[in-house]
């Protein structure tokens, strides 16, 4: 009798789980197929290598791809070293910096929850105006760096924490210093987690609009230096679909390019992670 009852409960739980999963899957598929159907005809070599014309209704997205790449480069060049350093501080040196690491961790959790438009306004006030960097790729990259740092730090920190405690103990027992243990053993071993954090951060950064609109701006010319304003992919999509009548076709094509980039990034991360875990040797 009670086992019969349980069987019904199991079936119910199963059914709910499945329908939620299917709902999510179909939402995604619907979105994705909509973009592919409307965008595929617009994407061509020409589209990727030409300048936008007529406010983006015609022509391509070459300068926008370049600006996006530069913004991401600035973002990661700043965020990676700071992120790694902070993660090491939080996970490896905790008992030297007990109260401070708690404070940092708390601040990061708050930062991670702040809407990106707030980062955009902060970036505009601080980088563009106070530091005098103006609307530029540098300002945009720095703003994005502030935004992805929490993700980067927390996932790297988790990576360090997930390492077996054995590593630290056995290294110490061999008379290895904390510094060389960190450099030669812990950092290579935590590399897959760092990479995952990097990809998550990159994914968030590449799709960002609100943080960039007031910092890197929306000039759609080819940037000549990092101090020029440059338009990111997501801003191009936003502009075409909201402000440019007749821009929908190219907005779809740009969205398809953006989604494809996201797929490539994720696939790359998986491939690297897989190779890492299958080889089981970090450094020969």
């Amino acid at each position: 009798m009670s086992s019969h009852h349980q069987a019904i409960q199991d079936k119910l739980a199963m059914g709910i789980t499945w329908s939620v999963a299917m709902l999510l899957m179909s939402t995604f598929l619907w979105l994705f197929s909509d973009i592919v159907i409307h965008g595929i005809s617009g994407v061509s070599w020409e589209f990727l290598t030409a300048r936008p014309l007529n406010a983006g209704r015609e022509g391509g997205i070459a300068p926008i791809l370049v600006s996006t790449a530069l913004i991401l480069m600035v973002c990661m060049a700043i965020a990676l070293p700071i992120g790694l350093g902070t993660a090491i501080l939080l996970s490896e040196l905790t008992h030297q910096f007990g109260w401070m690491s708690n404070l940092i961790r708390r601040s990061l959790d708050v930062l991670a929850g702040i809407p990106s438009i707030v980062f955009g306004l902060f970036g505009n006030a601080f980088f563009c105006i106070t530091l005098g960097l103006g609307f530029s790729i540098v300002s945009g990259g720095l703003t994005l760096a502030c935004m992805v740092l929490p993700i980067l730090i927390r996932s790297t920190e988790e990576g360090f924490r997930a390492l077996p405690a054995d590593y630290r103990l056995s290294a110490a027992a061999l008379g290895l210093s904390q510094a060389s243990t960190l450099i030669s053993l812990l950092i290579p071993a935590a590399m897959p987690a760092m990479l995952a954090g990097f990809i998550l951060g990159l994914g968030r950064a590449i799709a960002e609009t609100a943080a960039l609109i007031f910092t890197s701006g929306y000039v759609d010319r080819m940037p000549e230096s990092l101090w020029d304003s440059g338009r990111a992919l997501s801003i191009h999509i936003y502009d075409l679909s909201m402000n440019v009548p007749g821009g929908n076709a190219n907005a779809y094509a740009t969205a398809l390019v953006l989604i494809t980039l996201l797929f490539i990034i994720n696939a790359g991360a998986q491939a690297i992670g897989h190779r890492w875990s299958s080889k089981r040797v970090l450094v020969a």
Binding site: D166, S170, A171, A173, L174, L176, S184, R280, V281
Partner: protein, 279 residues
């Protein structure tokens, strides 16, 4: 003139150094009134033990009686545990182990440690051995290669792995991994080896192989070994110390040469422990 806290560094030149057969029966490591606390919990209370050079000293006793805590004091691995406080005195040769001036990296080079669970690094077999050697200042490739072969031969692993030194150490069997860890410790030519239940995570056959290996290290090395296996202590040890929880903290209630320990225990609890009535 004599500086008690300077430990001679490992010199690259002393490559033919493994056998160090001068096992005097003078105490080599000497702990006196050793106390260990983890925060507010006292794990060891007033432990005094002298450990003889070139002998195997077995530490036995029920779980939680402080054997591991005692062992990790000797190489100051307790430094890594937050809120862990050690007091009392430990004399190792002329070195005051607990002094803040002691160079712990050199100390740990001279006092190696083997853990219950084999813990090779996620590197190749070769790099597991090269990495610590380099860190201790041995950079010459020929010396390193000689040491690798020598220490792997010492643990009986050379024949099994010489043709796959560059494959992952994690692909070895448990027993092989444990012998690799012993080789890794030996490559730094330590004088003392601390072993925390080195056989208990292994299958019976590997356990036997590792046990024979440890027995063969007696003489040139001073060995302090925790074991839950009384038969093993009886077979291997020269001296046995029994840890017991008394008044809430771990103490040594009996410390005797192996024969005496098993045949003429002084303490009532020792007899009950040997007979399997307690512990």
């Amino acid at each position: 003139m004599n500086q008690p806290n300077t430990i001679p560094a490992l010199k690259p030149s002393d490559s033919k150094r493994t056998p160090r057969p001068h096992p005097s029966s003078e105490p080599f490591i000497f702990t006196e009134n050793l106390n260990v606390r983890y925060g507010s919990q006292q794990a060891l209370g007033g432990v005094s033990l002298s450990i003889k050079q070139g002998k195997i000293t077995a530490l036995v006793g029920p779980s939680g009686s402080g054997k591991t805590s005692f062992l990790t004091c000797l190489n100051r691995l307790t430094d890594l545990v937050p809120h862990c406080q050690v007091s009392g005195s430990i004399q190792f040769g002329k070195i005051d182990v607990l002094s803040p001036d002691t160079n712990v990296l050199q100390l740990r080079r001279r006092i190696g440690m083997i853990f219950q669970k084999p813990n090779p690094f996620p590197f190749s077999i070769r790099k597991n051995l090269v990495f610590p050697l380099r860190e201790h200042g041995i950079k010459d490739t020929a010396t390193i290669d000689a040491r690798i072969q020598e220490s792997l031969t010492r643990v009986g692993l050379w024949k099994e792995v010489y043709d796959r030194l560059d494959s992952s150490a994690l692909a070895l069997s448990g027993g092989q991994q444990q012998r690799l860890c012993i080789a890794r410790a030996l490559s730094l030519s330590p004088e003392v080896l601390l072993m925390d239940e080195p056989c208990s995570a292994l299958d019976p056959i590997s356990s036997g192989v590792v046990e024979d290996l440890i027995a063969s290290l007696r003489g040139p090395y001073t060995i302090v070994m925790v074991t839950h296996n009384l038969a093993q202590a009886r077979r291997m040890a020269d001296h046995v110390a029994l840890f017991w929880l008394q008044h809430g903290n771990g103490q040594i209630i009996e410390s005797q040469p192996t024969r005496e320990f098993f045949h003429h225990p002084q303490h009532k609890l020792t007899k009950e422990y040997i007979d399997g009535v307690r512990g």
